[in-house]
């Protein structure tokens, strides 16, 4: 059975897209092989490999069938009653025979539940792999997912960048496929500069990788290894130094090169006076350089650049990189110095000229709203007994957005917040403010956009946390009120990420903030503003925000904290407004779930819920108050007595948020519950007894449900 190779040769694919696209091409091709019975039967889902560089996406599948097996199938036609009249085939029978491609005389009959029908045994001749792949793969190539694609020949034929060659082989035989006017062949290309002539791929299989290596092209894994080695080797020339590991940057340079090497460059010591954040951003984000540090983690005046060539013997390339970085750092220093001419406090007024969002007004207006919201949040936090300094938060909120007017942020937008924090640290904010307080204000400004991703940390200080929450809540509130909430893949203001940030910050700082109150207050700050007139009249603001945050909470509990889906559902069913409480309840439920009692109780909760639901549907109401009836069964009395005794203790645990204790106490009810369900019939004729028993179940279910809806828990077999 032949090996199969498909290589799409392309002008440079954006580095950020390569890995996902290679995976996508592999999955699509594997599906085509599987669905068309071309994959060998011995293989399971994990089959074949992909290979990618900036100029190519390739997939390799060993042992493909060269021809599909013939397929035998039975077609079912019209009913026998219609197909034959007086023993003779009618036009319906002839039409069916024609469709099946056999003679009328060879039609058979099958008996189904609906009666007797005509049937035909047909054999579908298996097609050659070459034919099937030539037909189906172009469609798959055209429908690969790209975050942004283009056309270059005619609209409708799309890819990420122009496709320039195709290699499609079954062993050494070319598959006659065509995409966007390119016919597949057996010629590929090597490294653009190091091996400029076309190369012949002798056959699918390992010779592909060998042919590319000879033409100075390495696989993704080999490139990563080679880069790490080159970075290590270049760093070794500086005693005690090491390069700063950076996974994203490494992925980027791996996907920017086909034959990588590295050089160690240097910059003037004087630049180390600029903040490290600025230096690292320039190196990493703008130049794709790795930073170099000493044993103590302090930045050294060196950098590492990854090249897409085999070396720099004369130091020409290094000289170029040094020169570019010098210019970039000079710019940064120039911007830093220029910015100091106007301190942050002067820039607050300038924010009147900076648009936040076209309908929500300027950053100046946002600043005032966020300040008010911060004050309210600080008050709530203070009342709960936590320590917070409203003055610090208030001042930080006032200065938070001023760095948007600085030259440094205009140049390095990813440093917004950070630059404000750095400037606040060195500038006199107000002659009254002592230095320690100024550092706190600076830290809050510095942290205001945190956390920017799942991996990023939340703001360091409670003040920073409040500012970060208020800023994000203001944006989300405004956008939702305008009716611009995220839909599907559309989330241009990254509202989901911001909401994730709010949830995580509240949880990690254990802040006593209810989401519904937070968003009512955030909406309140818009009252009477110009923006409010643009707000949508149709939207159910509170409902939309609640639904949105429920999803964000689910995401946080599942992806950040690792809770199972049923625990999350059970916990959120008992309330999703208080983040800290939700997390505490989820942890408690998780801690008791392994106990056999809880598996039983989960089952009992489902049963209680069903009984109560059925009663409700029949219009039967539980008693308003539990009674001790003479006709009550002993099991019933036991359960009632148990509840009487333990409910107050459970309540005390709950008040203190000792949910695991509460649940453990509740779990001891298992025997009484089991006995009750064993011996007692709930839906009896006697109305009083029935109502009383329903009330008992309702009370018990409520005890559990304030922590989690245990009927949502998936019980073991």
């Amino acid at each position: 059975m032949p090996d199969f190779l498909l290589e799409i040769g392309c002008e440079e694919i954006p580095a950020r897209m390569i890995d996902a696209a290679a995976q996508d091409l592999w999955a699509r091709t594997a599906a085509v092989l599987q669905q068309n019975k071309l994959a060998p039967e011995t293989r399971d889902g994990i089959y074949g490999t992909h290979y990618s560089t900036p100029r190519r996406l390739a997939v390799l599948f060993p042992d493909v069938r060269d021809t599909q097996q013939d397929m035998h199938e039975t077609m079912v036609g019209p009913s026998a009653a219609i197909a034959y009249k007086d023993g003779q085939p009618t036009p319906a029978a002839h039409a069916f025979a024609k469709k099946a491609g056999i003679d009328v005389s060879r039609l058979e009959r099958v008996t189904t539940a609906k009666g007797e029908y005509l049937s035909a045994k047909v054999t579908k001749k298996g097609r050659s792999a070459s034919e099937v792949l030539a037909e189906l793969l172009p469609k798959e190539i055209n429908s690969l997912y790209w975050p942004k694609n283009m056309y270059w020949r005619k609209p409708g034929e799309v890819f990420v960048r122009p496709v320039r060659w195709l290699v499609a082989l079954l062993d050494a035989e070319v598959i006659p496929l065509e995409f966007d006017g390119i016919r597949a062949g057996s010629q590929s290309r090597g490294h653009r500069i190091l091996a400029p002539s076309a190369i012949q791929i002798p056959s699918a299989g390992s010779s592909y990788v060998d042919a590319l290596r000879a033409a100075k092209v390495l696989s993704r894994g080999e490139r990563e290894q080679q880069i790490r080695k080159a970075l290590d080797a270049a760093t070794r020339t500086l005693p005690g130094a090491r390069w700063r590991e950076d996974k994203n940057l490494l992925d980027t340079v791996v996907n920017l090169t086909e034959w990588p090497s590295a050089i160690l460059g240097a910059f003037d010591h004087e630049f180390l006076q600029l903040p490290e954040e600025v230096l690292v951003t320039v190196m990493r984000d703008h130049q794709k350089y790795f930073a170099v540090e000493d044993g103590a983690g302090k930045l050294l005046p060196h950098f590492l650049a990854v090249l897409n060539t085999d070396g720099d013997p004369q130091g020409i390339i290094r000289h170029g990189h040094d020169r570019v970085l010098r210019a970039r750092f000079n710019d940064a220093r120039f911007f830093w110095q220029t910015d100091q001419k106007h301190p942050l406090r002067e820039r607050v007024q300038w924010l009147k000229h900076v648009t936040f969002q076209k309908d929500l007004g300027s950053y100046y207006e946002k600043t005032l709203r966020v300040q008010r919201l911060c004050s309210w949040l600080c008050e709530i936090i203070r009342q709960s007994g936590m320590t917070i300094r409203p003055g610090v938060v208030h001042k930080a909120a006032y200065l938070a957005k001023t760095d948007l007017t600085t030259e440094l942020v205009k140049e390095f937008t990813e440093l917004q917040g950070v630059v404000g924090g750095l400037y606040a640290r060195v500038q006199e904010l107000d002659s009254e403010i002592p230095d320690a307080t100024r550092q706190l204000i600076a830290q809050a400004v510095y942290d205001q956009y945190k956390p920017e991703s799942m991996e990023d940390s939340v703001p360091q200080t409670p003040g920073g946390a409040v500012l970060s929450i208020a800023d994000k809540a203001d944006t989300i509130a405004g956008m939702f009120a305008l009716g611009l909430q995220p839909t599907g893949s559309k989330d241009p203001f990254a509202l989901r990420r911001q909401a994730n940030g709010i949830v995580r910050t509240i949880a990690e700082h254990k802040l006593p903030l209810n989401l519904s109150d937070l968003f009512r207050d955030a909406r309140e700050t818009y009252r009477g503003s110009e923006a409010e007139r643009k707000f949508s009249k149709e939207i159910d603001y509170a409902g939309a925000v609640r639904e949105f945050f429920r999803e964000r909470l689910e995401f946080y509990l599942r992806d950040a904290l690792g809770f199972k889906y049923d625990v999350i559902k059970a916990v959120l069913a008992s309330g999703s407004d208080d983040v800290v409480d939700v997390v505490a309840r989820a942890a408690a439920v998780k801690s008791v779930l392994h106990m056999p009692e809880f598996q039983a109780i989960a089952a009992a909760c489902k049963r209680m819920r069903n009984i109560l639901k059925q009663a409700e549907e029949k219009g039967i109401e539980p008693a308003a108050k539990l009674e001790d009836l003479p006709a009550s069964s002993p099991e019933e009395k036991d359960l009632a007595a148990y509840l009487d005794l333990n409910a107050p203790k459970v309540e005390t645990n709950r008040q203190k948020r000792e949910y695991a204790d509460a649940l453990r106490l509740l779990s001891t009810v298992r025997d009484q519950v089991d006995a009750f369900f064993d011996k007692v019939m709930v839906m009896v004729e006697d109305e009083r007894i029935r109502a009383n028993r329903l009330a008992l179940l309702q009370t018990l279910l409520r005890e559990f449900s304030t922590i989690a809806d245990f009927s949502e828990i998936v019980t073991g077999s």
């Binding site: 122009p162 500069i193 020409i316 170029g320 000079n330 009147k352 000229h353």
Partner: protein
């Protein structure tokens, strides 16, 4: 450990024979002329980028093949730095190449053009890094790369997809060379103002970029940031916009006119869409001055961009329509 500066000097290959600014332009122009490009002259209305010159903005529209190269001084008032920043200019110089449709070997042609200005690619590191281009005021966008030479962005390489809100068929490839940067790289100077613009063959005397252009940078920074008369600039803007709109309205009236005949067709072909576009460019430049002057408020800004875009989109549509009548006449 080596002192970095000493190490640098040791490695610094002296570049006595590197090209002057004007030689660089001549070499690139010759290169592209030899590959079939029309050599155009810089457009004589202020533009913010070579793309805005009609040789790009209008020529990429419609079905006709075209290859053109031209140097275009591009003015960005807000980028001025009073001549004090060694890397930033109010007016920089681009070499713009538009290839419609792009030949299959367009990347290779581009790399050959680098060889033509003395860059031995075997001794350098070249990368094509994703960089997509979008111009909201022109309702235009494309995808492509910034071409990085030893870590320096030397060229913007864009496949145009849409221009003036019109989907392009065929598309065009646009190469925009940053001439000051490339020359500074070749001459190994740290300040744009130190670039040798020309050298007198008689006595070897060098004229620098600073000699030629520093005064422009200083004076126009003062004008754009401090002295431009905001009220008058608004008036100019309104006047240019009004006239442009009137022209576009008259053109649509002519389209609606059902009477066909040689006279109508001739009037349509002679209709001054090109003049309407000049007025649109003036609006764009006035907007940039007002913006640099800090005279455009939050509420106005989005609106003013939309006004310029409306003109550009109207012109693009009219231009495409006008091209059809040329084709019909042919």
């Amino acid at each position: 450990m080596l002192n970095p500066r000493v190490a640098e000097q040791a490695l610094n290959p002296s570049k006595p024979n590197s090209l002057t600014f004007q030689e660089l332009i001549l070499r690139l122009q010759t290169f592209w002329a030899e590959r079939g490009c029309v050599l155009q002259q810089p457009y004589d209305v202020e533009v913010g980028a070579g793309t805005m010159a009609p040789e790009t903005f209008l020529r990429v529209l419609g079905p006709h093949s075209y290859k053109v190269a031209y140097v275009q001084p591009s003015r960005r008032p807000a980028d001025g730095r009073y001549g004090e920043n060694p890397n930033r200019l109010y007016k920089h110089t681009q070499l713009q190449v538009v290839l419609k449709p792009p030949p299959e070997n367009v990347q290779e042609l581009y790399l050959e053009s680098l060889a033509a200005i003395g860059i031995d690619l075997r001794q350098h590191d070249i990368k094509f890094e994703e960089d997509n281009w979008e111009a909201p005021t022109l309702s235009a966008w494309g995808v492509g790369w910034q071409v990085m030479l030893d870590g320096l962005e030397v060229t913007q390489f864009t496949y145009f997809q849409q221009c003036g809100g019109v989907d392009l068929d065929p598309i065009s490839a646009e190469l925009t060379y940053g001439l000051e940067r490339i020359t500074a790289f070749l001459q190994d100077v740290d300040s744009i103002y130190d670039i040798v613009w020309s050298r007198d063959p008689e006595n070897g005397k060098a004229t620098t970029y600073g000699d030629v252009r520093l005064a422009d940078e200083q004076q126009f920074s003062v004008y754009n940031f401090e002295l431009a008369d905001v009220e008058k600039a608004w008036k100019h803007f309104d006047l240019c916009e009004a006239e442009c709109k009137t022209l576009l309205e008259r053109y649509s009236e002519q389209i609606k006119d059902k009477k066909s005949g040689d006279g109508v067709a001739r009037d349509k072909k002679r209709f001054p869409i090109l003049a309407a576009y000049d007025l649109c460019l003036k609006c764009s430049h006035l907007f940039n001055i007002l913006d640099a002057r800090g005279a455009i408020s939050v509420t106005e800004r989005v609106g003013v961009i939309a006004r310029v875009r409306a003109l550009a989109v109207g012109i693009a549509r009219a231009y495409v329509d006008q091209q059809r009548s040329y084709a019909a006449a042919a």
